[in-house]
């Protein structure tokens, strides 16, 4: 504990959090990259401060991704794609300050909750996550895809169409089972698929920039104000419950190796929508929706640490980098860690808790600085966003090809927005495509072709049932909401 609570360690933690927020906030720079870049620099540090620095970057980046998602609709990290759904409309309504502070508060709730679970129940959660085989992962992916239905209630058909398109784009690259190239057009750059971050940046941010460029500046809406930043008591009453159940989804999904914040935030968003009294607000600047998405993607950090520390298995690409860092500092993550180095583990746990709590003051104070972005006049802001998109797409893999991918996605995003096609089902299909296909085929190989594997395993059956219920529920709601809409049409005519 003394080792943890000194000025030196805390100073490093704050610096790394700030660095993490910045990395997360710049599109194209991911948490993985930030942590990987810092690993060699921590060689000369003691194990505890070194590991805390890296975790600080991780926690900071998970939060930082929300900033550009809210302000300019560019998801700083893939996990922030769901944040754009309600965060950006809020900023457009002149409530950027409120959106930033809500995302910060919800993020802290998620981070603290998941760290609490890590401290109290890591071994139990780890055992549960091992029960997930190909059949369960497939069922989880299908459950994720079923969210398309509720994300696009107003235009179900268009939503499914976008979902299918997203899935099809995800098929680009080497086939996961037979390693045959598909839709690669002979480009080696496409062998591992169209890079994720450039596609998302293009679809959301560049598409939006083109769309904005095509609009005449409205006298007032061109520079939306900052608005008040702290939520009222009433608003807190909305945020806190949404955050609490999102924390659970985020932690559990984070603890499943191979499934990350991008999926968790969509699942939590949908869950919050189903529970909410004010469903119409979702997608038009709902505080609950924003809180749910942000909270879940921060809760993933604690969840992802669970398989990492207890099993030595990294849950996502960031924790994969952390494994290497832990080993360098002679900390071998795995079942023996808790017996062999209990002090270090506990110091790490509390350090992570403190890092999550520190996000609150840093986020609330820094938000004002970041928010200056929104005051930049439109004729400067749009070019800046575009050039940030280009640099970000390049920086991801140091690849010019990715810049091209990003531009293509940008044109697509613009057309889709112009003709009223929803983008989030496309993103969801893109995120879940590989997971769905790989695990279906893997499960069938293991079961020797018998589809019974999906029904006889309880977790898989449960998830598939939930998916079915979710789709039917959305269809019923869509029908209900269409009736009054038609009446409205009649009256306006």
């Amino acid at each position: 504990m003394e080792q943890l609570l000194n000025v030196y360690t805390m100073g490093l933690l704050v610096a790394s959090l700030v660095a993490g927020i910045l990395i997360g906030a710049l599109p194209g720079l991911t948490a993985t990259m930030g942590v990987a870049l810092l690993v060699p620099l921590t060689f000369w540090l003691e194990p505890l401060p070194a590991l805390l620095t890296l975790m600080g970057v991780y926690v900071g980046a998970m939060y930082g991704g929300a900033i550009p998602a809210i302000l300019v609709r560019a998801p700083g990290t893939p996990a922030a794609a769901a944040t754009t759904l309600d965060g950006y409309p809020l900023a457009q309504q002149g409530k950027a300050g409120l959106a930033m502070s809500v995302s910060c508060i919800a993020g802290v709730i998620g981070g603290v909750f998941s760290t609490g679970v890590l401290i109290l129940g890591a071994p139990t959660v780890a055992k549960f996550s091992l029960a997930f085989g190909p059949a369960e992962y497939f069922a989880l992916a299908i459950f994720g895809l079923s969210l398309i239905a509720s994300l696009s209630e107003r235009a179900l058909l268009k939503g499914w169409l976008m979902g299918a398109l997203g899935l099809l784009i995800a098929m680009i690259g080497l086939d996961p089972i037979t390693a045959i190239p598909r839709f690669t057009m002979g480009q080696p750059e496409l062998l591992e698929g169209a890079a994720f971050v450039p596609v998302l940046i293009g679809l959301f941010a560049l598409g939006e920039a083109f769309y904005q460029a095509s609009m005449k500046p409205k006298p007032q809406a061109s520079t939306p104000g900052w608005g008040r930043s702290l939520p009222t008591k009433e608003e807190m009453k909305q945020i806190v419950p949404a955050s609490l159940h999102s924390s659970v989804s985020g932690t559990v999904i984070g603890a499943l190796p191979g499934v990350g914040g991008d999926i968790a935030s969509f699942v939590a968003y949908d869950h919050a929508k189903k529970l909410s009294k004010d469903k119409q607000a979702f997608g038009n600047g709902s505080l609950e929706g924003l809180a749910a998405a942000e909270c879940a993607n921060n809760a993933v950090t604690g969840g992802a640490m669970i398989p990492l520390l207890t099993l030595g298995i990294p849950g996502d690409s960031v924790t994969a980098v952390l494994v290497g860092a832990l080993m360098i500092h002679n900390v071998k993550p795995g079942p023996e860690l808790f017996q062999k180095q209990p002090e270090l583990v506990h110091a790490l746990f509390w350090g992570l808790m403190i890092a999550n709590l520190l996000i609150l003051p840093i986020g609330l104070l820094g938000a004002k600085g970041f928010a200056q972005i929104i005051r930049i006049p439109r004729h400067y802001l749009l070019p800046l966003i575009v050039s940030l998109c280009v640099i970000g797409a390049y920086a991801m893999n140091n690849s010019l090809f990715d810049v091209g991918v990003m531009m293509t996605a940008g044109l697509l995003g613009w057309c889709l927005k112009r003709y009223g096609f929803p983008l989030s089902p496309l993103a969801l299909g893109l995120i879940l495509g590989r997971m769905t296909e790989e695990n279906l085929r893997r499960a069938l190989i293991l079961s020797e072709g018998s589809p019974l594997i999906f029904i006889t395993r309880p977790i898989a059956l449960g998830l598939l049932t939930a998916a079915l219920v979710s789709v039917i529920y959305a269809a019923i709601r869509a029908r209900k909401s269409r009736l009054p809409a038609q009446e409205n049409n009649l009256t306006t005519e």
Binding site: K158, W160, I177, L191, S214, M327, I328, E336, Y380, P383
Partner: protein, 435 residues
């Protein structure tokens, strides 16, 4: 604003740390920083090895050495980039095991003969690993079970055609058995599946399973090599058990073809010395990397032998014989079908509802929108050609004008300032090698 100053201070400190590489008297050859191309993404063993070796080597060669990751295309991108680089010695490539695999999958034309080999740095053999709850205690018991019935034992690997797939396949061929190969997207998910007992074995490097083996949840049956692993002195090798299988992941450094001999010699000497740096050796041991230095022609010979071996394995197992797989075209066909049906549905719905007027605001400024698209596409092309500084300045100036800033001077000033900030953030602080 106070907070902003604090932030600037923090980054100043961080920047000072990041920019810690010292430059001194330029010697004859390295007049500028040297780049090592590392094909795998940041974070893995390859990335760590190149970065640590670079840190040691820059002390020797007295010039900064930058590691640049070029991930993607099953490492084909980075390998090709390194082979095509200017042969002046300023671009070194870290070669990986895929170099000896990709040509046989017709995914890359490159071989070791596309490079000027420097040296092999590491070799990590595959180890056959099972769960401790399984009945098998020796390789022979395990293979006996596999012999009983073909396709009865599921062996996880890190992807079809990956080195760990070929490892399991070469054991299969040597032992005359037939495993059920289950590809995962990397070694870690395969190990996870083994821990959850969804599969029965994996054939990966010891670094991937070490912590589980030490904790007693996984058991190593054999090392697929001719010598015992220093970390596993008790575990027999496949050769000892009567199966002549030596396979694993390796890495090494190379230069593009036709690098001048003096430059090659300088680099060889520098890396040779860096390789013996106790700090480097210690870091690699901590991470479980087995160092295995092999220089010049001997290294090339090793890679050629690996390539021949891989070619034989790939020919022996057809790569996609997996029974009960629905096939590569099943999903895409399904999706294209769905898209056709859904589009038809959407069109029909549209016709039935009558043509809706597009949102009025969207068609307001068509010429400007196309202008923005044109400028942006041009920017994308110039970005790689003219470099980041010039293209971004031009683009920002032009776009600001297009979007309504009437003063060219102001637009240019804005562009220069923004480019400065971007440069500071990305290039100076975060070390992103922009073109």
């Amino acid at each position: 604003m106070k907070n902003f100053k604090g932030m600037v201070l923090c980054f100043g400190v961080l920047g000072a740390i990041l920019g810690g590489c010292q430059r001194s008297e330029p010697a004859k050859f390295p007049q500028q920083p040297i780049t090592i191309i590392c094909p795998p993404a940041p974070g893995g063993v390859s990335d760590l090895l190149t970065r640590t070796l670079a840190a040691s080597a820059q002390k020797v060669i007295q010039s900064p050495i930058i590691v640049e990751n070029k991930p993607g295309g099953a490492n084909a991108i980075g390998l090709a980039y390194g082979a095509r680089a200017k042969p002046d010695g300023y671009t070194v490539t870290y070669l990986v095991a895929e170099l000896a695999i990709l040509p046989h999958l017709k995914l890359s034309p490159l071989t070791i003969d596309s490079y000027e080999p420097l040296a092999r740095t590491n070799f990590n053999p595959a180890v056959v690993t099972v769960h401790t709850d399984s009945p098998w205690r020796t390789l022979e018991e395990f293979l006996k079970e596999a012999r009983k019935q073909p396709d009865s034992i599921a062996v996880g690997n890190s992807g079809t055609g990956s080195i760990w797939h070929l490892s399991a396949a070469s054991l299969q061929t040597a032992a005359g058995v037939q495993f059920k190969h289950v590809p995962y997207s990397g070694a870690a998910p395969a190990v996870q599946a083994l821990l959850g007992k969804h599969i029965q074995a994996v054939c990966v490097s010891y670094t991937e399973v070490q912590s589980q083996v030490e904790a007693g949840t996984l058991r190593v049956l054999a090392v697929l090599d001719s010598q015992r692993d220093p970390l596993l002195p008790e575990t027999p090798t496949a050769t000892e058990e009567g199966y002549n299988v030596q396979i694993g992941a390796w890495g090494g450094l190379a230069l593009p073809k036709n690098v001048p001999k003096p430059v090659l010699d300088t680099l060889m000497a520098a890396f040779r010395q860096a390789y013996q740096d106790p700090e480097f050796v210690q870091r690699m041991q901590e991470r479980g990397v087995r160092l295995a230095w092999l220089e010049g022609e001997a290294f090339a010979g090793f890679v050629r032998k690996q390539s021949e071996q891989n070619q034989k394995i790939i020919a022996a197992i057809e790569l996609n014989p997996t029974a009960h797989d629905v096939g590569a075209s099943f999903f895409p066909t399904l999706l294209i079908g769905a898209i056709v049906v859904l589009s038809a549905g959407a069109v029909w719905q549209g016709v039935r509802a009558g043509t809706q007027a597009p949102p009025v605001e969207a068609i307001d400024h068509r010429s400007r929108a196309w202008g923005a698209v044109g400028w942006t596409l041009g920017y994308g092309i110039l970005f790689g050609w003219l470099g980041f500084l010039i293209s971004t300045t031009l683009y920002l100036t032009g776009m600001a004008r297009l979007m309504g800033q009437t003063s060219v001077l102001r637009a240019a000033l804005f562009a220069l300032m923004s480019v400065g900030v971007f440069w500071l953030l990305f290039v100076y602080l975060l070390r992103v090698p922009l073109p």
